[in-house]
Each structure stands twice: as structure tokens, then as C-alpha cells.
């Protein structure tokens, strides 16, 4: 691999002082520019912590995080984030919600006033891409959960982030909506090719969307295995019913079970 876009090297993260909980230990991973990786693992293994370290929200206790050739020491404005909870602002219309990052991130923040029409057109294009054309003037509470999550995805993308961090973005949705949104995400990624780090507990989702699936151990989390996914894109949902696809999912499932068993025997 050439110089990776994201490099996490021997990172440890401990909360609440020296005696606090160790969330991550000796975590290392590389992500190439434009790559789509998924991180899976048992619950509470520090997946979300990893996300906050990469975006510079929290400093790591140990080790280094390098993004785009520079060590991360504070919030990165080249990152977009979306969470399980859409967290849209109820007093703003969908369009205004999507445009929120533009009011904060430089250099857009300075340009927004002069070039509002151009930025607005861009936000509308994005909403159209995720199937929300015609809903720009609606308020979040007038939309279903799946539609809100689409809008949340647009908000994460509107400032053209080179790094997209997704923390279980489809975790709270029903199966059908979730599968719809997988395809939406795939389409967005194919159109813009940001580097994506997707944290999820849904193995099918990880295999369907990612180039590479990384498996984390139970707390304190570290990467214990990885599995490349060979399928070309665009992938179709039929794929998820094929034997080979399911074999990959199964393999991942077994490795996570092993990780949990190892942890249980450690504890004894």
C-alpha cells in the first residue's frame, strides 16, 4: 500500500484517568484514500471510540493517529460524520439542516453568504441523489426515520469531506429501509469516492458495502483480523443471498465468536 490516508498506529485510549476504563489497546490500522472499510466487533469494543479518535474529537492516550499525512491533534474539518440517531435540528428545514456544516467549516463558511445559491443548488443535488427531492422545505419531524437518516447522510457529505465516518448509521432502521440505504450509500460512494470508515454490528451490511472488513476484539479493543471482500461494484442486493457471500459472513461471525470466547477464558 502507498502512504495510507488514515494510519492508526499502536493507539490506546483510557477514560477517566489512570484507573479508568481501557477502551482501546494497541490498535493499528491503515486505510487507503478512497477505500471503504467496515469495522465490526462485539458491542462495547471501542468502535465508537475509534471514530472519535480519527476525527480528532478526543486525543488518544497512547500511539499516533495520522490522517492525510498529518498527525491528528484536534477536530478535522475534512471529515463528515453520521450516527445511529439522525440528530437533525427540528427548527430547521431539511435543506437548512443539510447546509449546517457549510455555516461552520472553512472555507465554505466565509463563502456561503456570497455564493448561497450555488451552495443551495449543491445541497439540493445531494438530496436528490439520496431520494429526498421535493422534501427540502419539510421539517425533520415530518419525515420518517429512514428519510431522516438520508438527510443526515447528506449533512455528512455536503462539505465534500474526504473522510466519511459512519457510526452504526442504519442501526435503528427496519430491514427494508436499511437495505435501501445501503444502496444509497453505495451510490454516493461511487459518485464521490470519499474514504469511508463504517462502524457497524451488522456483518451482512459490512460485507455488502466494504472493500475490507476489520474485526475488533472485545474491550479493550484492537484489530484482530481482517477480511477483504472481492466483489466488484456496483453490488446488487441479490448478492447477499449467494452462498459465497454468506460464507464470508459466516467466517466473520466465527472469528467474532472466537474473540469473545478468548476474552471469556482470559477473564477466568
Amino acid at each position: 500500500m502507498a502512504t495510507p490516508f488514515v494510519r492508526i498506529d499502536g493507539v490506546a485510549m483510557r477514560y477517566g484517568g489512570v484507573e479508568g476504563t481501557l477502551a482501546l489497546r494497541g490498535t493499528s490500522l491503515d486505510v487507503a484514500e478512497g477505500e471503504f472499510i467496515a469495522v465490526v466487533g462485539p458491542s462495547g469494543c471501542g468502535k465508537s471510540t475509534l471514530m472519535r479518535l480519527v476525527t480528532g474529537l478526543w486525543p488518544s492516550t497512547e500511539g499516533t493517529v495520522i490522517v492525510d499525512g498529518r498527525e491528528v491533534s484536534g477536530p478535522l474539518s475534512i471529515a463528515g460524520m453520521a450516527f445511529q440517531n439522525p440528530t437533525l435540528l427540528p427548527w430547521r428545514t431539511i435543506l437548512a439542516n443539510v447546509m449546517l456544516p457549510l455555516e461552520v467549516v472553512q472555507p465554505h463558511r466565509g463563502r456561503l453568504r456570497g455564493e448561497r445559491a450555488a451552495y443551495e443548488a449543491k445541497a439540493r443535488d445531494l438530496l436528490k441523489l439520496v431520494g429526498l427531492a421535493g422534501f427540502e422545505g419539510k421539517y425533520p419531524w415530518q419525515l420518517s426515520g429512514g428519510m431522516q437518516q438520508r438527510a443526515s447522510l447528506c449533512r455528512a457529505l455536503v462539505h465534500d469531506p474526504r473522510l466519511l465516518m459512519l457510526d452504526e448509521p442504519f442501526g435503528a432502521l427496519d430491514v427494508f429501509t436499511r437495505e435501501d440505504l445501503w444502496d444509497v450509500l453505495q451510490e454516493v460512494w461511487l459518485a464521490r469516492k470519499p474514504t469511508v470508515i463504517l462502524v457497524t454490528h451488522d456483518l451482512k451490511e459490512a460485507v455488502y458495502l466494504a472493500d475490507r472488513v476489520l474485526i475488533m476484539s472485545a474491550r479493550p479493543g484492537r484489530i484482530i483480523a481482517e477480511r477483504a471482500v472481492p466483489y466488484p461494484r456496483p453490488r446488487r442486493l441479490d448478492l447477499t443471498y449467494e452462498a459465497e457471500f454468506q460464507a464470508i459472513v459466516h467466517e466473520l461471525r466465527d472469528r467474532i465468536s472466537d474473540a469473545r470466547r478468548a476474552e471469556a477464558s482470559d477473564a477466568r
Binding site: 476525527t55 480528532g56 474529537l57 474539518s77 440517531n85 456544516p101 467549516v105 449533512r155 462539505h159 465516518m165
Partner: protein, 277 residues
């Protein structure tokens, strides 16, 4: 049956209209009913006017003394209004400070609680010593009594911003002031207006307390003078004028609230707005 549907839909709409009309008329009916019962009770039991004057007697007194009532009501409205505006400015500023900084919260909150527990009537004599009887003690008592609910509510609104939302903005490089301006303040607005409704009514309590202790004008002063002359109908007239002013100011607060934070009470007034699902 499909053939019946248009008619029943129309009937439903008619029923809804009737219900809305009733909702609008109801407060007036309740007030009129209360005065009617009061009047009938006074006459039926022959209650002495200096114990409880009948509404007709109070109305008579209002007509007779309309000039002093109006000028004193104006004085009270002025002191209450100024005290209330000060409470809004100070309450918002302090609420933002307390809501956005744990340090300020920890440092100031106990003092605020202690301060709010002091009965304001006990503070009036001190204010009179400082500023002399009259205008300023009334303004300041209204202010002191009404800023606390504003502070608490604004602070709550700002302190309870969802952590994920904070992360989204912080990851974009937002400054703390950005987060307060874009999320904290708009989010605190429903809390703020809820507090205004409480604050405006207690502001009247503050200014009238001060007027009854030391003042030479205002509704409180007028009621004090009237009671010393055993003009009980005029005392009641003062009470009613105060109530009317309170309702008016409350209504102003509600109107501003509805225009600015309709999103917070979504769908409660109009079920058609609540789509999705």
C-alpha cells in the same frame, strides 16, 4: 358505505369547527360565569360590601375611579415591564453562561439558589434605603423575582444539547460559540418562552409587593390607600386590573412564542402536520 363518506367527512369538519369556536369562547364563558356566581352569592347571602363586594359594586367603583386606576396601572405596568426586560437580558446572559460551562454552573448555582430562597419582600426595605421609595425598588423587585426562572430554563436548554450533535459540529471545527449560536440557543428557546410565562406573572408580584411597602404610586400603592379608607370595592378593582394586566402580558409572551418556536409544539394544534412514520 362509500356513498356516505363525503357527507360524514363534512359532518366531521363541521364538528371540528364547532369545537374550535367553543375553545375560543370558553375562557370568556368561564370568566363571565365566575362573576355571575359571585354576584348571585353576594346578593343571596347579603354579604357586607367591606367583606366581599359584589362585581357590580366593583364595576361601579372602577367607573368612579377610572382615572387613578388607569394612571396607577400604567405606573405598575412600567415598573414591571422595565424589571421584566432587565430579567430577560440578565437571565439569558447568565443562563447561557451557566448552561455552557460546567465551571460556571458549579460555581454560581448554589449562590443563585440561596439568593432565590430569600423572600423578596425582605429585600424591599434594603432597596428603599439604597434608591429611595418609589420607582427603582419596584423595578428591581420585579427584576429580582423574575430572572431566576429564566436563568434555570435557558441553562437547561443549552446544557442538554445531544452529545452526537455536538460531536458532528465539533468534528467540523466549530467553536463553542458556534455550537451555542447554531444549536444551543435555538434549542433553548422553547424553555426560554416557557420561563417567560412564569416570569412575567411573578414580575407583577414583585413590583406590587414593593409598591405596597414603599411607593407613592402604582396599583399596590392604590390598593393600600383604598384599604386604609375601607374602600374595599376599590381594592378589588385594583386586583382585577392587576389580573387583566397579567393576562395581557402573558398573551404577548405566548404570541411571540408561537411565532418563533412553533416547531417545538408541532402537530399539537393541527394533526395534519404530523405526517411521516
Amino acid at each position: 358505505m362509500p356513498a356516505d363518506r363525503p357527507r360524514s367527512a363534512e359532518a366531521l369538519a363541521e364538528a371540528a369547527r364547532r369545537r374550535r369556536r367553543l375553545e375560543h369562547a370558553l375562557p370568556w364563558l368561564v370568566i363571565a360565569g365566575m362573576f355571575l356566581v359571585w354576584e348571585v352569592a353576594c346578593r343571596a347571602f347579603a354579604i357586607q360590601p367591606f367583606i366581599l363586594p359584589a362585581p357590580s359594586l366593583i364595576a361601579e367603583s372602577m367607573v368612579k375611579w377610572w382615572q387613578p386606576l388607569l394612571s396607577n396601572a400604567w405606573a405598575t405596568l412600567l415598573t414591571t415591564g422595565i424589571g421584566f426586560l432587565m430579567a430577560i437580558v440578565f437571565g439569558l446572559a447568565l443562563g447561557v453562561a451557566i448552561g455552557s460551562s460546567v465551571l460556571v454552573y458549579r460555581g454560581l448555582y448554589p449562590l443563585l439558589i440561596a439568593f432565590n430562597s430569600v423572600p423578596k419582600v425582605a429585600v424591599v426595605p434594603i432597596l428603599v434605603i439604597w434608591f429611595g421609595a418609589g420607582f427603582w425598588p419596584a423595578v428591581l423587585t420585579a427584576f429580582l423575582i423574575s430572572f431566576f426562572p429564566i436563568v434555570v430554563n435557558v441553562a437547561t436548554g443549552i446544557a442538554t444539547v445531544e452529545p452526537e450533535l455536538r460531536d458532528v459540529l465539533r468534528a467540523l471545527g466549530a467553536r463553542p460559540s458556534d455550537i451555542i449560536a447554531k444549536v444551543g440557543l435555538p434549542r433553548a428557546m422553547p424553555y426560554f418562552f416557557a420561563s417567560l410565562k412564569v416570569a412575567i406573572t411573578v414580575a407583577f408580584v414583585g413590583s406590587i409587593i414593593s409598591e405596597t411597602v414603599a411607593a407613592n404610586e402604582g396599583i399596590g400603592h392604590l390598593m393600600l390607600v383604598a384599604s386604609s379608607r375601607f374602600d374595599v370595592p376599590l381594592v378589588f378593582a385594583g386586583l382585577i386590573v392587576t389580573g387583566v394586566m397579567g393576562v395581557l402580558m402573558y398573551w404577548v409572551a405566548v404570541t411571540i412564542e408561537e411565532r418563533t418556536t412553533g416547531w417545538a409544539t408541532r402537530g399539537q394544534n393541527d394533526p395534519r402536520l404530523a405526517t411521516g412514520g
